[in-house]
């Protein structure tokens, strides 16, 4: 069933505002999504009615706060298909989740000469933590290349994975939009005896997620890209893997006992959650996934695929060779992020002209500079579509690009 986009839009208070007196055309959900009223209300209600620290007090408020926080975890765990809520560690975002793995699992399992395999389409968040380990302990990083159709070139995958300890890859590129076949990649890693980390930061907001079916060890994601608040994200990990890992940050909450001589750690997931966590944000994230499930992730994916197909067609029809799209040419096997070069106009100049028409797009390297170097471009413009976008938004993008072309007289 097609989404009622007008009704969805009405649930996002921010989308009702204007910019420079014009209807807001928000095409930057791959950077961060806007928030529906259900999320804002849940967080507001938490602060107005419940606020107390969690896992501490025995008074009613504290119990309610703890229950709300853990309910946010359980609801989010269910959303991503986790069998056990205790396999979901709250982090600040996907970046912190990947760093957590690098710092704890990596510290326990990776030494000089050990191999971590990444892909050329990774975000810096899934590159730099491993490069830090490479600098500190001499691990080796190998890269799965992309091919001419902006998909992973798996020709030499088994060779690249040979002897590897970890294969860490994105489920959906934030630049190309390309979706990767997570179960197949995980299976290849398993055959080589490598552990598997999936960066689901983009995919989790755009298609149904079932971590139980992925055969991964770790899955990282951010709340703010899935209509939830900033400041909270998740690391899902297989329970036995999490239990074998050393702790991350030290402090309150993550301990079972502390003596002058030392400490013992709490159970997972709290072992990895030192300090007062983002409680209202956990409540907000729970509301966000509840809202997403209410709309239906399969319906969202279908809507975005139709809209992506429309956008790819509209851009090609209007501008032909004047536009180069860096990503799969059809909506098949891709998400809704559309990166492009337009004429010879720099992405920042395009974004500036589009802003006149209240069209919000991302310009730059999208925190994926190794990929940009592979593509041979310094920067691209990226329009990314979400469930609240419609063909009017795409038409506004096309019209604003035509204006940019006229303005720069190219």
């Amino acid at each position: 069933m097609a989404l009622d986009v007008a009704a969805l839009r009405a649930q996002f208070p921010l989308l009702a505002r204007t910019v420079h007196g014009r209807r807001l055309v928000y095409l930057d959900s791959a950077a961060t999504a806007q928030k529906p009223l259900a999320v804002l209300d849940a967080m507001d209600r938490y602060y107005r009615e419940t606020n107390a620290n969690v896992h501490r007090g025995v008074y009613t408020l504290a119990e309610e706060a703890t229950a709300a926080f853990e309910a946010g975890r359980a609801r989010t765990a269910r959303f991503i298909g986790a069998a056990d809520p205790h396999e979901l560690v709250f982090t600040r975002n996907a970046t912190e989740a990947i760093n957590l793995v690098a710092r704890t699992w990596g510290a326990a399992n990776l030494g000089s000469g050990d191999v971590v395999v990444l892909t050329e389409m990774e975000h810096h968040a899934n590159i730099v933590p491993w490069q830090m380990l490479a600098a500190e302990r001499g691990i080796e990083i190998r890269w799965v290349p992309i091919d001419g159709s902006y998909r992973l070139d798996l020709t030499d995958l088994d060779t690249l994975l040979d002897g590897a300890r970890l294969f860490s890859f994105t489920a959906m590129s934030n630049v190309l939009g390309t979706t990767n076949d997570v179960p197949a990649l995980a299976a290849a890693a398993r055959r080589a005896g490598a552990a598997v980390l999936v960066d689901a930061c983009q995919s989790v907001a755009h298609e149904p997620t079932d971590v139980s079916g992925w055969d991964a060890d770790f899955v990282a994601f951010s709340g703010h890209k899935m209509v939830g608040p900033t400041g909270i994200g998740g690391l899902w990990g297989r329970r036995e893997v999490l239990e074998a890992m050393p702790p991350f940050l030290g402090g309150g909450e993550m301990i079972r006992d502390v003596r002058k001589e030392g400490f013992t750690t709490n159970d997972v997931p709290w072992k990895f959650e030192a300090g007062t966590p983002a409680i209202a944000e956990a409540v907000g994230l729970g509301a966000a996934v509840e809202w997403l499930d209410g709309v239906g992730m399969a319906e969202i994916a279908a809507h975005e695929a139709r809209l992506t197909e429309y956008a790819l067609g509209a851009l090609a029809d209007r501008f032909g060779d004047g536009i180069t799209i860096y990503g799969p040419a059809t909506a098949e096997g891709r998400g809704s992020a559309i990166s492009f070069l337009f004429r010879d106009i720099h992405a920042h100049d395009i974004s500036q002209v589009l802003d006149e028409d209240a069209v919000c797009v991302r310009a730059g390297h999208h925190c994926a500079k190794p990929l940009m170097r592979v593509l041979g471009v310094p920067a691209t413009t990226r329009a990314s579509l979400a469930m609240f976008n419609d063909t009017d938004d795409v038409d506004a993008l096309v019209a604003a690009l035509a204006k940019a072309q006229a303005f720069f007289a190219l």
């Binding site: 720099h346 920042h348 730059g364 390297h365 310094p378 303005f407």
Partner: protein, 160 residues
Amino acid sequence: MPGLEDLYREIILDHYRAPRNRGELPAPPATRVEGFNPLCGDEVVLYLEVGPDGTVTDVRTAGQGCSISQASTSMMSAAIKGRSVDEARRLIRAFKALMSIHESKLEGGDATAATEEALEGVRLGDLEALQGVVKFPVRIKCATLAWNTLAQGLDEATGA
């Protein structure tokens, strides 16, 4: 609301479309220096030739970036060619002061005394067209990239 014509003045677009002094110089004897804006990936490469009398006898520019960074690079190269290193340094201070006026006004005051002093007696000429950039704070770094790179290059060329 500042309009696009405040940012993209005709002279800026002219320098963007037809950048002056593009190319390279053999280095050495010329000084080659690179500047990057890590946020947007803009890149400026300068080749500076400074004569024994302290005159910038030749300048060439390379690199890539948005219209503002490339136009600013082009305008800068035209402005310093044939000038003394001291004059070029005064121009850098004056240009950066021009770019900071908006910020000091936002902080509630007028242009600071240091800003006025830096601008005093310096003819910016065409470069004043770039003043509109200050109304678009995220673009200021695009405009100043070439000038920060020039400051570094002059230091290297003169062994300062």
